[in-house]
């Protein structure tokens, strides 16, 4: 019998991780809940003045999305690391970057995509101008995968550490800056009726760059961490 082709292996691993995600669905709700909670804190802290909230809502939503995505990062490789399947993955006959990409994709589907669904509700609560909803969803769709991809490098570097959590945020947050700038700006300008095409194109460029480079770096970092 021949071994699976590359795309078959990719889909197999993706399906497995989605299945595992589905079986642990109670854990999936956590980043989502965190996202909603952080956003709830802002009106309580800065006051419920509608103009102010509407003005800062793109920034708030994006900072909260970024933190939520960062908090869920550890789950990409944690359980595989602990039960030894990560080891087996590195010893598999398939190129590791492709397997990494499958895992990150699955992780984004179960933690990033749900953000997309609650974002309009939160935007409404903060009074974001309705004309910006489309762009908000588009930035989340393009931006959060980049966060997961960059984050996977950080997780791979810190997976073997007992106190990896705080180091992970130190490594990953500075690298998130470009996504934050362009995504928040896109929502911001479209809420005042301007064109956000340039920002969206930048986010797309980031996504392609991250898709092509980060799995390789993550694979190298995993090899390093497991040795």
């Amino acid at each position: 019998m021949k071994r699976l082709s590359l795309s078959q292996a990719f889909w197999f691993l993706l399906r497995r991780d989605l299945l595992l995600g589905f079986r642990n669905r109670s854990e999936l709700a956590n980043p989502l809940l965190f996202f909603v909670l952080v956003i709830t804190l802002f009106p309580l802290a800065v006051g419920a003045e509608p103009n102010l909230l509407a003005r800062i809502s793109p920034g708030i939503i994006w900072v909260a999305a970024l933190l939520a995505s960062m908090l869920s990062l550890d789950a990409i490789f944690r359980s595989d690391f602990e039960d030894g399947t990560l080891e087996q993955m590195l010893l598999s006959a398939h190129p590791v970057p492709v397997l990494v990409l499958a895992k990150v994709t699955a992780h984004w589907l179960v933690t990033g995509l749900p953000l997309l669904m609650v974002a309009p509700m939160l935007a409404m609560m903060l009074g974001l101008d309705e004309s910006a909803y489309g762009i908000l969803l588009l930035t989340i769709l393009l931006g959060t995968p980049v966060l997961s991809l960059i984050g996977s490098i950080g997780v791979a570097l810190t997976i073997g550490l007992r106190k990896g959590g705080i180091i992970l945020s130190l490594l990953v947050l500075p690298l998130y800056v470009p996504v934050l700038i362009f995504a928040a700006s896109a929502v911001d300008v479209s809420s005042v009726g301007l064109d956000a095409g340039a920002q969206i194109k930048m986010l797309m460029a980031f996504l392609f760059l991250a898709l092509s480079l980060s799995p390789v770096a993550t694979a190298a970092a995993l090899r390093m961490s497991m040795s």
Binding site: M1, K2, R3, L4, Q8, A9, F12, L13, R16, L19, L20, R23, N24, S79, E82, D83, G84, T85, E87, Q88, M89, L90, L91, S92, A93, H94, P95, R223, M226, S227
Partner: protein, 206 residues
């Protein structure tokens, strides 16, 4: 007969301690290498270097004469590794786990039910691994030897938490693998009964 697995002047240093130095191993088809030694003598480190997971301080590992760092995935395809961790997922059933194992390696044309039968787990096929006992998990981990095709088996304490009957069962499996021209490297606290001609012993504590 030509050598399958060789090491050349292998040395390993961990936390400033030299675990082993100038290690030269030469294994031919049909041979089993038993790695012995005290705790912390570098057994696991050696096994992980042989799989390619870890890098040696100096020296190299050769597969059919070529350094494994150059052979890459074609080497991994030839290796089945059973480590300290079972490498199976708690939240998948036994069958699902075996399918995963096959997807990651080079699958053998064997019915998965039959494979489960071979390791005495047929009745738990649809059960989640989380519900299995430690010994059953170990047997499932060892089932990767049955469902994928690999010449080189590397096993770290494969008999942990196994009972006498299972141990005997796996020993028969090992003998069969050697008869088919395979190679085995393993560590074990339990002695195994094999024809002496096939067994190479290496004690890292000496």
């Amino acid at each position: 007969m030509s050598s399958l697995l060789q090491t050349r002047d292998l040395s390993c240093v961990k936390d400033d301690r030299v675990l082993f130095e100038d290690l030269n191993i030469d294994l031919k088809a049909g041979q089993i290498l038993l790695v012995e030694g005290k705790n912390g003598s570098g057994k696991t480190s050696l096994l992980r270097i042989l799989t390619g997971l870890s890098l040696p301080e100096t020296g190299e590992v050769l597969w059919q004469g070529d350094p494994i760092s150059e052979v890459g995935p074609d080497y991994y395809e030839q290796v089945n590794y059973v480590g300290h961790h079972d490498g199976i997922k708690r939240d998948l059933t036994c069958l699902e786990n075996l399918r995963l194992v096959q997807a990651m390696g080079k699958p053998l044309p064997i019915d998965l039910d039959e494979a489960l039968e071979k390791v005495n787990l047929y009745r738990f096929g649809e059960n989640f691994v989380a519900t299995l006992s430690a010994g059953q998990k170990r047997r499932l981990a060892m089932a990767r030897l049955v469902v994928t095709e690999a010449l080189l088996w590397i096993m770290d304490e494969p008999f942990t938490s196994l009972d006498k009957a299972s141990m005997a069962m796996f020993q028969r499996m090992f003998e069969q693998h050697l008869d088919n021209g395979g190679v085995i490297v393993m560590t074990s606290h339990h002695d195994i009964e094999m024809p002496d001609s096939d067994v190479v012993r290496l004690n890292l504590s000496e």
